[in-house]
């Protein structure tokens, strides 16, 4: 029988993590880019690499700061791997 209980609200859940392993080192060939209004990862990839599908490279290099690759914000500083 389906439950009529309303779904609980988990929006206030707090979280964190730590590890014995170090963070991956940042390659010297990376540089930073400040997101502008109207940017998306695919647009940045198109501009930087000439291929919009390369947005994954940028996303992977910024996994710690970009939670959702469809949501980046003007003023956000991201790393552009070479």
């Amino acid at each position: 029988m389906p439950s009529n209980r309303p779904k609980p609200d988990f929006s206030d859940v707090e979280s964190g993590s730590s590890s014995t392993a170090p963070r991956p080192s940042t390659p010297a060939s990376e540089r930073s880019y400040t997101v502008r209004k109207g940017d998306s990862l695919s647009k940045i990839a198109k501009r930087e690499y000439g291929d919009a599908q390369q947005w994954r490279r940028i996303y992977e290099a910024n996994r710690e700061t970009i939670e959702n690759p469809d949501l980046i914000y003007p003023g956000q500083v991201i790393r552009i791997p070479e």
């Binding site: 392993a21 109207g38 940017d39 695919s42 947005w55």
Partner: protein, 147 residues
């Protein structure tokens, strides 16, 4: 207060504008694999749950039942080495409702322990929960209960 609301509205609008172009050129984030890091050799050896972890990032006393006010710790033990690997922890409630999803990029060198923890100031609803962790192609799940 009004200025703060206006600022929030502007930021929200800007975020929508900023995000609008991504879906045109690529698939939606909802359909993408969350663990894409090149970590072929890194595998999960075990997952531990408990109320606290030690300096070695391992759970000090394993358990699978908690109280609503507990901070829940998970220690993900991995083997293998890679310049970069992404450990993903997905916490779900009963029918699959996502409680929280976190990831951590690591550069593992042999046996490592990565801990994730969650807390809920207003208290955890009682019921069955599941933690699913993955790194590369290695996945493990752990069930626990809040009583």
């Amino acid at each position: 207060m009004i200025a703060r609301f206006r600022l929030a509205s502007l930021l929200a609008g800007a975020a929508v504008l900023t995000s609008s172009g991504c879906k045109k050129d690529s698939e939606s984030a909802a359909t993408k694999d969350v663990a894409m890091a090149p970590a072929e050799e890194v595998k999960i050896s075990s997952v531990e749950l408990g109320r606290q972890v030690g300096p070695d990032k391992r759970v000090t006393a394993q358990q699978d039942d908690f109280t609503p006010r507990d901070t829940i710790y998970a220690s993900v033990l991995t083997t293998g080495s890679a310049p970069t690997a992404t450990v993903v922890a997905r916490w779900t409630f009963e029918d699959g409702q996502v409680v929280k999803e976190d990831s951590r990029s690591i550069a593992p060198n042999g046996a490592e322990a990565t801990e994730f923890h969650i807390s809920k100031p207003s208290g955890w609803p009682k019921g069955e929960y599941k933690l699913t962790v993955s790194v590369g192609g290695s996945t493990q799940s752990k069930d626990f209960e809040v009583k």
